[in-house]
Structure formats: C-alpha cells, structure tokens
Symmetry: C2
Subunit: 348 residues, 2 copies
C-alpha cells in the first residue's frame, strides 16, 4: 500500500508532468514497471533540437527549488533561449518512489545509472532530443551529470557538476550512513513499515541535525548567517528551518535516494578505472565545488577534474557550504550563474 503524503504533489511542486517511460530494468536486479518521471519544462525546444538543458535533482530536492533558484529570464538558464528540462530523480517523492509504490518497504535498489538511463529514454523517446547543450546539477544532481557525460559522451555538449563527485568517497559514504541511521534507529521507522511519514518525526529531526553540522559550515554560523535568515540561534534554526524542511518528507524515499548517493561511481562503466571513465567525457566541463563543503569538498572534486580533458576547475566561494545549493547566499548563486553563462557561451 502506498503511503499518503501531501508534501509531494502539484500544489507544492507543480506544475510538472508525469511521464511513464515504461519498464526500467535496474542495474542491481529487479525492475520498475511503468516507471514515472516527474518533469518540469520551461521554454521551447528549437527546430534543431539543440537547445535543451537537462537539470537533475539532488537528495531531498525537487524541480521547484531548482526552478526558483537557478532559472529565469536573463539568467544563464534562460527559458527564452533554452528548453529547460528538470527531471525529478527516482525516489524523490514526485517520480516513482517507495512511498507512492505498492510496497514502500520493499522498493528495489536504484542506482544513479538507472536514473540516467531513464532520463535518456525520456529525452530521446518523448522529446526526440539527441543532443544536450548542457547537463547541470548539484550534489546528487552532479553525480547524475557526471554519469550522463561518461555514459553518453556524444550527446552531452557541456557539463556543470556542482558540489558533487563522479565517484563517491568512503568518507561521504559513511556520512550518508549516519543520515540513514538517524532514520533507521527510530523505532517508528519499523523497517519501512510505518503509516505516515510523521510517525518518523524523531528520526527525520535527527537527520536534520546532522545536516545542520555537515550541510552548512562553522563559518556560516560564526558569521550569524542563520540569524540573518531570521532564527535567534542554531537550535531555532534546526527546529524550524532544517527540521521544517525534512519533516514532511518520506523516510523510505530519503533512504532510496541515499542508497544511490552512496554508490555513485562512473567507473562502474569502465571496470573500476576512474581515469578511463572520466577520459570518456567529451563535454566542455566546469567542475564547481563549493569552498566550504564538508562532504563533497573542493579537494575531492579537484582530484577528479584533473582526469577530465576539456574541463575547468571553478570553485564557488560560500560559507553556506554544501547547502549554498539552496540559494540563500545570493553571491553563490551569482557565481554559479556567471560560470554557467560563460560555459554556455563556449562552442561545443
């Protein structure tokens, strides 16, 4: 039985379309029948079909925040110039996910590669797109961006992975494990068999607290950025902003995404050889870590950038750390915009 959850719907996240891409055979075995991708598009595909930009989502994220923070007339991701396709990842609550499937506690394991193949099917079969002017995404969106550029090198003309890696690190894997355990140690989670997401409130709040530590940075709090956002102290920030963000989400959906995140690795396509995998990339690539990111830090991204032939290393400066992705630091958003504008202006 699916689990009702009002958070995931057109009211909060629309407008988006649900596309049924048919059966998706999964890399780890099993399959998803009638796999549905929730897709928000802006602008129009031109006659040459070469102005499409794909924007995949991050852990816990949906199309809506990406639309609001990163797209707009006069911006790099301009719907007057480009056909913007924001695809919600499998498991994010809007696309096919544990909570909206028949057996939420027994949803199959999905990998980044499954998402990317599903998106490829969507773009080629539903939209007739065979060339992407840009793939851009943050965090798990960056993992998908790398997977796209390695898997379909001819199709991806430009790539902009922000605050994410092509191959997840052991350190990041364990951080994500602590996020998962915040949920799974809540007795109300009950192996995934709960009635409502709100049953798992304690676990989701503990996850929100871990995100507070690793998602921002000590400088963020030292500079009083949380107070500037309207919260008296770090605990008011945790209780309202961070817990407010995670509390309405579905626990099994988050666990589904986390499993993918932990195992993101483009070198699965080249027998474990990361150099060979990244060597496949033909896209003009801007690698954009965020200066204060604690789990996709610049050093990890820089090491991968060195293995990509046509790439520039363009770190974004922000004390907001990883969650600069949320867009509450306008200067960080401006830096990303500037880089994307430049990237899109380069011939591909």
């Amino acid at each position: 039985m699916a689990i009702d959850n009002a958070y995931y719907g057109q009211e909060g996240h629309g407008p988006y379309e649900l596309y049924d891409i048919g059966t998706l055979d999964l890399e780890d075995g099993g399959r998803i029948d009638n796999c549905k991708l929730a897709v928000a598009t802006f602008g129009r595909l031109n006659a040459a079909k070469d102005n499409a930009i794909l924007i995949p989502t991050w852990y816990s994220g949906t199309n809506k925040l990406l639309e609001q923070v990163y797209t707009g007339k006069g911006r790099a991701l301009d719907p007057d110039k480009y056909f913007l396709v924001i695809v919600n990842q499998i498991g994010n609550g809007l696309s096919t996910s544990p909570h909206n499937s028949a057996d939420p506690a027994d949803f199959p394991k999905v990998r980044i590669g499954d998402d990317v193949r599903a998106q490829h099917k969507l773009l080629t079969e539903k939209f007739g797109i065979t060339s992407l002017a840009l793939v851009v995404g943050g965090s798990m969106g960056a993992q998908q961006t790398y997977e796209w550029a390695v898997r379909y090198p001819e199709m991806v003309k430009r790539a902009a992975p922000i605050a994410g890696t092509a191959k997840n690190t052991e350190h990041d894997f364990v951080f994500t494990e602590t996020l998962n355990e915040a949920i799974t140690t809540d007795p109300a989670w009950n192996g995934g068999h709960y009635k409502a997401s709100s049953d798992v409130a304690a676990g989701l709040k503990r996850q929100a607290k871990l995100w507070t530590v690793m998602g921002w940075s000590t400088e963020f709090f030292k500079e009083g950025r949380h107070r500037a956002l309207g919260f008296d102290d770090i605990h008011a920030f945790i209780d309202n902003f961070m817990t407010g963000y995670f509390a309405p989400m579905d626990a099994n959906d988050l666990l589904c995404m986390a499993w993918k995140w932990q195992r993101g690795d483009v070198s699965r396509m080249t027998g474990g050889d990361l150099r060979a995998a990244l060597g496949r990339i033909k896209a003009r690539t801007f690698v954009m870590p965020i200066s204060h990111d604690m789990f996709f830090p610049p050093s990890d991204c820089q090491a991968e950038w060195r293995l990509i032939s046509n790439a520039e290393f363009r770190p974004i400066q922000s004390v907001d750390g990883h969650l600069a992705l949320f867009g509450v630091d306008p200067a960080a958003v401006a830096q990303i915009d500037k880089n994307l504008t430049e990237l899109l202006a380069t011939p591909a």
Copy 2:
C-alpha cells in the same frame, strides 16, 4: 551504585595516583565531595618549582595516550628537564566520574572552569606549584589550557592549545549534540540507568561512526591512511579501530565530558566579552589547530589567536584531522614537538 568498568584502572592506564582534593563546589550548582583527580607525573619538580608542565586530557582521553605519544627523553615534554603533570579531567573515568560515583545517572553538571579550579587546587596544595612553565592540551585539553591562561594569567608562563578553542562554536556544540544523541537514543542507555557499559554498545558504535566522519578527514581515507593502519576498508576501520576505542568506555562518563565540551567558554569570566577574556592572557601562546580538523578548524582558532597579545598561530598540517591528536601520523607529532620545543625555549 557505581557501575563496574574494567577499562578504567591501573592496568590499562597506570601508573597514576588518585588525589583527593576535598569538596569541589561547581559553577552550575551542587558540589563533588572528596573529588578525586587521577594524576600521572613524570620527572621531578626542581627546587625553584618552576619547571612544571600541566597536561590536561581530551574527551574520551586519559593520561596514558598523552604520556605515550607526547612525552619522552629528548622530546619537548622531557621528563629529564620538566616535571610533567598529566591530570585526567573530571568525568573521564579515572578521576571522579559518573560511573564511579554513587549515582551515575544523576552526576552533577561540571564545567571546564570546575576542572581548572580543581587542578589549581591540586597543583598549589598538593605540589606547592605556583608557576607553570607550560600548559598544553589537545581538544578539550585545549579548552582547559585556555581556561587556565585566562583564569590564572600570572601562573601560566606558556600555553599551547592544540586543536581546540577558548569559546566553543555553535557548530561544534551541535556536532557534540549528535554524539550525545548517538548514546541517548539507544534504548539501553535508559536515562543513564544501565548495568554495564556494554549494554549501550549500539549507541557507542554509532558515536564511533560519527567520529569517523568528523574526527578524521576525507583526505585521510582518500590517501588510504586507514589501510596503512591495517584495515581493509572504512567499515573495518569503524568496526575495529573506532568502535574498539569507544566500546569499553562508560556512556554517562562520555556524556559528562561532552556537556563540558559544549559549554567551554573563557568569556564566562568577563561577562561574555571574549576579547577581554583573551586579553587577560599573559602566557606566551602558540595556537595550534590541525589543518584538516572538521570541528575545531583552523579558521575558528585563528579568529581567537588574533585576540591574544603574545601569541603565534602555528597550524599543524595533517590529513588525520582532529584525531591527529592520537599520534598515528608521526609527521604531525613531530610538528607539535618542534613547536613545543621552540615555545619552551622562549623566555617567559
């Protein structure tokens, strides 16, 4: 009823002496009667009584590791030249602590200032020491070092806070909260009413996992330092090295130390004015953060260093991050040794 725990004793941590300093009135109310400090000393106090070095302990730490990693003939902390006094902090399991007190679940709240006053009483009354050539400590030992230098500026000639701050940050406070919650969300912790520390094994293991993320660094794992230490992968490292370290410890003792750690703040002595507090320091001070420390990072330590008049900023380079304190990176230990040698050679 005290809780038996074989980990805390002469066999694993001796030789040390237990000194009863009498009644300790606590800053947050209440008192500890017959407060006992476990103290290991090396070398001899000279006739002028001006060659004593005080070394307080960190969270979870005891005198033994400090002795083994940081002291020795020909080293900076040389027992042939100095009278080394390693004092175990209250709550660390060797000194008076929840587990060895009558009511482990209802141990009073202790602050860094209580420890420092207790140590002052010990040094002045038991040893007749009124001048310290150096106070040096890491992490919570650094918090105590700062407290010493601010509270007793005439007595502390030199100070070397390593990987710790004078005033704890909000960010660090919440990180520590996640450590505490790893324990307190374990049903076996039971509000502190457990029979044996091993009952809380699951909570202690979760704490060990959080330490794996925040205590080392992504570079530590990327460079394979855990494999060099003999562990096949990060999970073997967690299960054996990290969990092996925390599992025998007492949960209430750890919570007692964490409460102190969270509230470390020398500006309590100056009405909240950190500049005024650090301005009291007369000690020649070397501020030594560790380059890859994720919760007492160089930036937080550097901001405080600017407020100390007679201080140098001497960051230690190590991908081991905060837990470079453990001493498994010989290069980090050598840097600390070199700095301490230089500091001790400067006139005070």
